[in-house]
Each structure stands twice: as C-alpha cells, then as structure tokens.
C-alpha cells in the first residue's frame, strides 16, 4: 500500500485540520493508564501514540455498553440523531484485529440476515488512524496468535514513528482522501525511511516474543482447545475466578448483549447492554435450567467461544492477544497459561500412550 512521510510539525497541522471537522479521539494518559479520550486541540500534551493499547476496548465506539434499540408502540418513531464524523487515533493492531470479529457479528451476514444498523453506521462514520505499538506490556501476546504489534490491514491510515516524524501508510479509500485533501503535508517515503520503520517494528515484535517465552505453545490455540472440555486444567485455572465478568466487558471481541425493557414517560423502550457469559445467569432459562451452572464451565465456555465457536463459524480466532483480560483479572488468571497447561497435558498424555 502507498506510504508517505509526514513531519512532526505537519502531523500537528493534520490533527488541527481533523479536529475542525470531526470528533477526534486518541489514547491519553490518566495516571498510569491510557484511555481513548476526546482531543480538542492540535497539540494535546498527553497524547500517547506508540505505546500499547488503551484500557477501553475499541468496541466501545461501535458497540457501546448501552444502546437504545427500540421505542415501541409509539405513533411516531423516534427521530434518529445524526452522528458526527469521528476520527479515532492511535488504535493498535490488536484492536484493529478485534473489528474482524465484531464485523462478522454486527456488519456481516454470517450470523444475521441483515447487518446491525447502529454498528454499521458507527463504523461508516469513523476514520481509523492506527499506530505501531512499540512498548508492549507484560500481558501483550499478539505474537502467540500469529499477529504482530503493528497493523497490516484494517486501518484507514497507519502511523509508524521514524526520525523527524512518521511513515504514514494508506489503508483505504477514506485514508487516501485525507492524504489528498492536505497533499502539501506529505512527502513520499523513501527506502531508507521504510527500512527504519521495519527495524523499529522488528524490535517491537521481538519484545513481545520475549515477553511470552514462558508461555509459548507449539500448537495453535484452536487445536489445543478442541478436545479439552474434560480437562482438569479448566477447573484448576478458574479456582481464583471471582465471577465478575470483567474479562468479558473489557475484551475487544466479546460481543454479547442483554436486551432490557423499560418504561420512559409514556412509551416503552428496549436497550441493549453489554453482557458477560462468566456471570451465573447468562444462559439460564426462566424455568431455572442452566447449561453452565459451574464456574469452570463458564470459564471454559468463554475461551471455547473464542477458539472453537468463532473458528467453526467464520474461521476467525475471536482473540487478538491484547491481554486486557489478564490485566483486568482480580484472580490473576492468565489465559496464556491455560493453553500452556493444555499443551503440557496433551503431550504428557501422548507420552503415556507411547509407553
């Protein structure tokens, strides 16, 4: 894809132009953490583009935690508000990957007969300017899933820091338009700059690999999980789970929701709220029957969804290695260790057979 160079000063210019016509969001530092926050000026002090992903999952922009989906039995339908154009800056490769899963559920027709109107409208209205992740944290593991800390697709524009500015890569028609509107801000990216980018990227890639040496497995997660339901590994690892559903809420690919009805003045409303399959009542039916009354079953179900249900349905792992579920977990549960132990167990079992 086409790549350009943009100097730091020109990049500020670009932000200045974007902020005029769009709602601009980007990773900003609050205490020790990064959050996607609104950016009002062209040179926000606390904008952090090239460390790892922010705390909130990217899904919040397209599949918000609370969405009104129906006002029913009204004489007139509610008027849909125009949603402003948004630019989301500093999206990391892992979060871009997560959109593949969400798109399959909300924008595609593999699961539903028609795309979800709220999701697709929010997607259409947003421009994604991603950036390479140069400072992975201890819970990052994109490399274990065959990915890397820099994006190759799914963005409109991507930023890679180089001396004096950024290599900016065009990933879509929308991205191309941005570049052509402010042509004078960009110059062509020469071989030397691209080589510099590759070097920085390779360095970051090896950082992630190094961080995961202890938990690396030989087989893909989807192969390890397939026959693992009876394994004691699930119970062992879920022993410290406190049933909070935090891993669900913060996961960029967890896409489940609850429909809740209520009354607002003289009309009835239906909203959809993020839901969590780790919670006891998630799959329970009115009569009381519950297919997953045991915590270990709900714990394994979440990962079966990611590495069995989604691969079977859309040939995608619904996990991007962002590590948020590890960071958020009160019980210090680490899914990488679950898979490491599943592999260990299956290799021990095959050793037994050979004996």
């Amino acid at each position: 894809m086409e790549a350009f160079f943009i100097s730091t000063a020109n990049f500020q210019h670009l932000l200045g132009n974007l902020v005029k016509k769009n709602l601009l969001y980007g990773p900003r530092k609050k205490g020790d953490f990064l959050f996607y926050e609104k950016i009002e000026t062209a040179s926000p002090k606390d904008l952090v583009l090239h460390t790892n992903r922010p705390v909130q999952p990217l899904k919040s922009f397209f599949f918000p935690p609370y969405q009104k989906v129906s006002q029913y039995f009204q004489v007139t339908s509610p008027v849909e508000k125009e949603i402003p154009k948004r630019v989301i800056l500093g999206v990391k490769s892992c979060d871009l990957e997560s959109l593949k899963t969400l798109d399959s559920v909300y924008a595609g027709t593999q699961f539903s007969s028609s795309p979800d109107p709220w999701y697709t409208r929010a997607r259409d209205n947003s421009l994604l300017i991603s950036s390479d992740c140069l400072e992975p944290d201890e819970n990052c593991f994109c490399t274990l899933l065959g990915s890397h800390p820099y994006p190759e697709e799914g963005f409109d524009l991507n930023l890679s820091p180089v001396d004096g500015g950024f290599v900016i890569e065009v990933g879509s028609e929308k991205g191309k338009t941005i570049v052509s509107q402010d042509q004078n801000l960009f110059t062509s990216a020469d071989e030397a700059l691209l080589a510099q980018r590759e070097k920085i990227r390779a360095n970051s890639q090896s950082k992630v690999k190094e961080l995961n040496q202890e938990v690396e497995v030989k087989s893909p997660y989807r192969d390890l999980i397939r026959e693992s339901y009876p394994s004691p590994v699930w119970k062992n690892h879920s022993e410290s789970c406190v049933d909070c559903g935090g891993c669900n809420e913060i996961c960029p690919t967890c896409r489940c929701f609850l429909l809740q009805d209520g009354t607002e003045k003289d009309r009835f409303e239906r909203v959809r709220l993020w839901d969590a399959c780790l919670l006891t009542g998630f799959a329970r039916v009115a009569g009381g029957a519950n297919p997953r009354p045991k915590l270990a079953d709900r714990f394994s179900n979440r990962l079966f969804c990611k590495f069995y249900f989604f691969p079977e349905n859309v040939n995608l792992d619904a996990c991007t290695g962002c590590g948020r579920c590890i960071s958020v977990c009160i019980g210090k549960i680490d899914m990488r260790k679950v898979f490491r132990d599943l592999e260990k167990e299956s290799s021990e079992a095959s050793m037994e057979k050979i004996k």
Partner: protein
C-alpha cells in the same frame, strides 16, 4: 423500524389448560407467517420478552396461539393478563421441523408437559397433509391428569378424528380417582412400540419436553434402534435477540436461535451439558 421493535398484538382469548399452563390467542397488527418448530419473541410491554414456540397450526393464520407455563417474571405477567391486553411479537426465528424429511415415514412424537406446545403445532401441520405420512404415534406424558395440556384434543377429539392413522399413548406420572389410563413416566409409553412402528431404523422421532424427559426419552429411543440423525429435539435455550448476535443461546458451535431450536441428536450429542 428497528428489528428489535415488536409488532403490537392483542390477546384475544385466554384458555386455561392446566393449573399452571394457559394458551393465549394472539392478534398481531401485522400477520406473521411461521412454520411448526420456529419460535417467536413475545414482549410484555416495558417488562421484557421471552421466546415461545407457537402451539397453533401454521396454516390457520387467524388463530396464532402460544401455550405458556407460569415459570418466571414474564410468564407470570402473561398469566395475569386478561383478554384485550396488549403484548408484542417479533419473529419468527430459527429453523422449523424438517417436514420434507418426514414424508412417507412412520413418525413418533413424544411430548411432556408444556413441551406439548410445539408438538401441537407440528401435529396440526402433519395432519394438514396426513396422506404424506405413513403413520403417527403420539406419546404424551403429564404429571397428573390435571396437568394434561390440550386435554380434550389428546384424550378425545384427535383420537376420534384420526383413529385410522394415528395412535395415542397417554400417561401420567401419578393418577387420581378419575384417571383410568396408563400411569408411569413418559418413557413407559415407548415400551412395545414395535406393535405400531414397523421399522425403528427408518422411523423419525420428535421429542419435546423438560430436559430430563428429553434425555431419558432419547436414551430409550436409541436403545430400541432409532438413529441419532432421526431423533429431533427442541433445545429451548435462553434465546434473546433472535438475530444470531447476543450470544445467549450459544451451544457448542451453534446458535440455537439461528441453527435451532430443532436439532437432531446427531448434531448435538457431543456438546457438553445439552440436557441442562
């Protein structure tokens, strides 16, 4: 118009079937085409919605009925509703009973309790073109004689109307002073089936009822020679959006709202906890 908007619907009649089961006849503002086995989402305005399989004939569009047991929040409000109350409908959703596969076959229907609701819809579909099928055996289990759903139909009307081609085996777990029929679990109606069904390997079974009943009925059918792919089960999970998105009804690689609620035993036998 949102796909989460329910169609405004009037309850035109409430029929008490048993002490805790009622049938509601519904008049939606827009008519709704469904096939036996598919489900609808029924909204209690401002309270919420729940999935139900219509119990009426898909061919009688003016008589859409759902038969509902009082078990939870939504069903309790419904049971307290009077004729004329307003509810909402979305759907239909999911896959129907594969009637094409049933053609020319001996069909065994096994229903327990409120599980008789979808079976009534199926029964009315089958009898709409009764010549298409070789024979039907309808087994029905209830807790006590008072709990028999569609009592008049299963004990009298249907028995007389279809006596040449359909036989009924009705049992109750516990009899009372007036009950002269069979006493025993619904699985006992599957004894000596060879009197009525000539070839278990080719016969198709449809089972619908409480999970524990479906489990033991299925095990017994397998034992007498039914094939995994010929046993049709209604997996009534926690279906919510009906659109394949919300994730509540995920079961193995399936979404029950999209791939079910009717599954063959072959499709679901390797999924953990299917009977829960």
């Amino acid at each position: 118009m949102s796909e989460y908007d329910p169609i405004k619907t009037n309850i035109s009649q409430v029929i008490t079937e048993t002490p805790n089961i009622k049938t509601f006849r519904l008049k939606p503002q827009r008519s709704l085409d469904f096939k036996a086995g598919q489900f609808i989402q029924l909204t209690v305005p401002g309270v919420g919605e729940g999935p139900f399989t219509p119990s009426s004939s898909p061919y009688e569009k003016e008589k859409l009925e759902v038969t509902i047991m009082r078990v939870g929040r939504i069903t309790s409000v419904l049971h307290d509703s009077k004729e004329g109350s307003v509810v909402g409908l979305r759907g239909p959703f999911g896959k129907e009973y594969p009637l094409d596969k049933f053609r020319g076959k001996e069909i065994l229907m096994v229903g327990g309790g409120v599980g008789m609701a979808p079976l009534r819809s199926l029964f009315l579909s089958l009898t709409y073109r009764l010549d298409d099928y070789k024979r039907i055996v309808f087994c029905c289990g209830s807790r006590t004689p008072k709990d028999i759903v569609f009592k008049d139909a299963v004990l009298n009307k249907w028995q007389t109307q279809f006596k040449d081609k359909i036989s009924f085996r009705i049992t109750v777990d516990e009899g009372d002073g007036t009950w002269k029929g069979q006493v025993g679990l619904v699985t006992t109606t599957l004894d000596n089936l060879d009197k009525e069904i000539s070839n278990f390997k080719e016969s198709l079974a449809v089972v619908c009822g409480p999970p524990i009943m479906m489990k033991f009925a299925t095990l017994k059918l397998l034992d007498i020679g039914y094939r995994d792919e010929n046993i049709h089960l209604s997996m009534e999970k926690n279906m919510s959006c009906g659109l394949g998105r919300c994730g509540h009804c995920q079961m193995g690689k399936y979404l029950v709202c999209r791939d079910g609620p009717v599954f063959t035993y072959e499709e679901v036998k390797n999924i953990p906890n299917i009977w829960d």
